[in-house]
Symmetry: C2
Subunit: 339 residues, 2 copies
C-alpha cells in the first residue's frame, strides 16, 4: 500500500500511536518526565530547566510547496521561517532560535542561497529570532527545513499554552485577519492571471510573505484563551483538526468568514471556496467562551472575526451553514498533502 492510498492522516495516526506505544510499553512513560506536549499539536512542548520550551519544524520542497518558475528565493526564505513562527504563534509562545537545513543541487547558484538566507533573516528579524545552526546537504531537489525553538509564556509559574485539544461546546470560533488571500495569490501565480497592480501586489504578498501572528498568539494565551491552531491547510481543515483533537463538532457561519475586498473583487465566483479551503493564510483560528473571546478581541491590534461555534453533537465534524442557516458543507476532512 502506498502513502497516497492510505492517506496522510492514516499514516500520521499510525506514527502518533506507535510513538505513544513506545513511550508506554518500553519506557513506562505514560507521561514522560519533562515532556509537556508530544506529537499532534502545532509545536511540541517540554521542560527546559525551570521553563517550558516549544519546538516545531516545517519544510518547503521545490516543486511541491513553491515553484521556482514564479517564486523568488527571498520570498521562499521568508516563508520558510514565517510558517514556523506561525506554529509557535499558535501555541502562544515566544520564538527564539532557528536551525536551518537546506537540501540543494550542487549546480544550484550561490546567489539563490544568499537570497534565501536574506529572506529568512527578513522574516526572523522583527521577532529577534536568531539562526543558530543547521545543515547543508546535497539533494537533487531543493528544500528548506526550519526548526524553531520558542518559550512558553508563564502565568503564576504555569505555562500558558494554546493547544488543539481544549475546545468545548459553547465556545465561539474566531480568526485573525482575512481568509483566502494566500490561495488566491497562488491561483494568480500558477494560472498566470492578470490583475491591477494593487491587487497583484496584495495577493503575491499574502501568498509569499505571511505575517505570523506571534504577538496576537501571546495576547490570546495571556488573555485566558486555551485553544488555537494556525490556518495552514485551510480554515475548515484546521478547524477539523481542533474538532478531532477536542472531540467536539463545529459550525461555521459562511457569511461571517472574513474575506478581503480585493480578493472578493478578483475572484467573485471562487472567493468563498478559497477562504474556506485555500489554506496558507497563517492567521490564528481560536476558540473560547464568548466573554473570554470578546475581551481577547479587544486587546488585538489586527482584525478579529467571530465565525462560528463549537457544538457537542456531530463530534469531529465541521458544518458550514449559509445566511439562512442551511447546511452547505459538512464532514470536512483534513487536507491530504499526498493526494
Amino acid at each position: 500500500m502506498t502513502i497516497r492510498e492510505l492517506g496522510e492522516w492514516g499514516l500520521i495516526d499510525w506514527v502518533r500511536e506507535r510513538l505513544e506505544e513506545e513511550r508506554r510499553r518500553v519506557f513506562h512513560w505514560p507521561s514522560q518526565k519533562g515532556l509537556v506536549l508530544g506529537p499532534g499539536d502545532d509545536s511540541a512542548a517540554f521542560l527546559g530547566g525551570d521553563t517550558t520550551l516549544l519546538c516545531t519544524t516545517d519544510t518547503l520542497v521545490s516543486g511541491v510547496h513553491f515553484g521556482e518558475e514564479y517564486a523568488s528565493w527571498r520570498e521562499v526564505g521568508w516563508k520558510a521561517i514565517a510558517v514556523n513562527l506561525s506554529d509557535i504563534a499558535a501555541m502562544g509562545g515566544v520564538p527564539k532560535y532557528a536551525l536551518v537545513t537546506l537540501g540543494l543541487p550542487s549546480g544550484h547558484e550561490v546567489e539563490k542561497v544568499k537570497e534565501l538566507y536574506e529572506g529568512m533573516l527578513d522574516a526572523a528579524r522583527p521577532f529577534s529570532v536568531s539562526i543558530i545552526g543547521g545543515d547543508m546537504v546535497s539533494s537533487p531537489v531543493a528544500f528548506a527545513t526550519v526548526t524553531l525553538i520558542g518559550e512558553a509564556l508563564h502565568n503564576n509559574g504555569h505555562p500558558c499554552l494554546l493547544t488543539r485539544s481544549t475546545a468545548k461546546p459553547g465556545d465561539h470560533v474566531a480568526v485573525t485577519g482575512y481568509m483566502g488571500a494566500s490561495a488566491a495569490g497562488l491561483k494568480m501565480l500558477t494560472e498566470n492571471l492578470k490583475f491591477d497592480a494593487d491587487t497583484a501586489y496584495y495577493l503575491r504578498e499574502a501568498h509569499f510573505r505571511p505575517r505570523p501572528r506571534v504577538v496576537e498568539g501571546q495576547l490570546l494565551a495571556l488573555g485566558g484563551v486555551k485553544t488555537a491552531i494556525d490556518v495552514s491547510d485551510g480554515l475548515l481543515s484546521d478547524l477539523w483538526q481542533i474538532c478531532q483533537r477536542s472531540q467536539v463538532g463545529a459550525k461555521v457561519f459562511q457569511e461571517k468568514v472574513p474575506v478581503y475586498s480585493l480578493v472578493k473583487a478578483a475572484f467573485p465566483q471562487d472567493y468563498m471556496a478559497l477562504a474556506l479551503a485555500g489554506g496558507e493564510d497563517y492567521e490564528l483560528l481560536f476558540t473560547g467562551e464568548p466573554d473570554v473571546l470578546q475581551r481577547a478581541k479587544a486587546r488585538l491590534k489586527v482584525p478579529c472575526t467571530m465565525i462560528g461555534e463549537i457544538v457537542e453533537d456531530r463530534s469531529g465534524e465541521v458544518i458550514v451553514v449559509d445566511a439562512q442557516g442551511r447546511e452547505v458543507e459538512s464532514s470536512h476532512k483534513g487536507w491530504d498533502h499526498f493526494r
Copy 2:
C-alpha cells in the same frame, strides 16, 4: 557561480559570517543573550531556563546519503537518529528529544515508512530519547531530517561542553573505537564486493548502525576534556575542522590510527585511506593535555587510541607522518558534499 564551483566551505563561511553580522549589526548582539554557542560546532547551545540546551540537525537524502537499492529502511532510520545522537555526544551532552521530518514521494510504500520509524526507535531507545514531533511532506526524493535536542552536563553550575575551538598546542589527539569500517562497508555495498559472513556483517553494521558515543562524550566532558568532534566527514577532515576553529595545526601518526583487523584483511591496500578519509565512523575525535587524556581514557569502556598531537606551527593544517616521521599527507581540506 554554482555551489559546486564555490565549494561547500566557501558557502558555509558566507552563511556563518552573514549570521554573525546580522547579530552584531541589527540586534547589537555581540554575544546574544541566552545564546551559548552559535553556528560552527556539532550542536548549537543556548540557555533554557536555568539549564543549557543543545540542538542539532542532520539529514539523509535518498541517492545521496544512502542507496535504496542496498539500504534497508530500518537501517536508514537507525542511521538518521544515530548521526544526530553523535553530534550531541560530540558536545558531551545528554540527548533528550527528537523531531523527525520525512520527505516522501506519494507513491512510497507505507511499509517502508513504518520500517524507517522502527529503525529510528531502535536507535533512540538505548538513550531514552523520545520522538516528540515533526512533519511529513510530499517530495519527489525521499529524505529524513532529524532535529535532536539535548542538555549539557553541568559542573558547579557551569555547562561542561566539548567544542571544536579549544584545542591547544601540546594537546594529544585521540579517537574512540576504530576508523574506516563504515567507509569499507559502503565500498563493499556499492561495489558489490564479496566477503565471508563475519566480515560482511561487521562492515554492513559499521556503515548502517553506528553506535554513537553518547556515554563516552559525557565521561570526557566530566573528565575535563574540552575539545571534541565526531568523525563524520573523515578523520583528517574532522581534525582539520578542529584546527580551523582552534587556529592550531595537527600531526597524525599514521601507524597509530586504529583500524580493525577485519577491515585490514578485507582491504589490505586501501585500509589506511579508508581510515584517514572514509568518514561516517561516528567515533569521537578529541584533544586534551596528555594527563587529562590519560585519565579520561582510563574511564572509557571502549577502545581509545592516541593518534597524534596539536602543534603551534602550520595553523589550520593537518599533517600525516609515517613510522619514520616522514610527512605523507598534509593540508587536508574538509570533505565537500557538493563535489
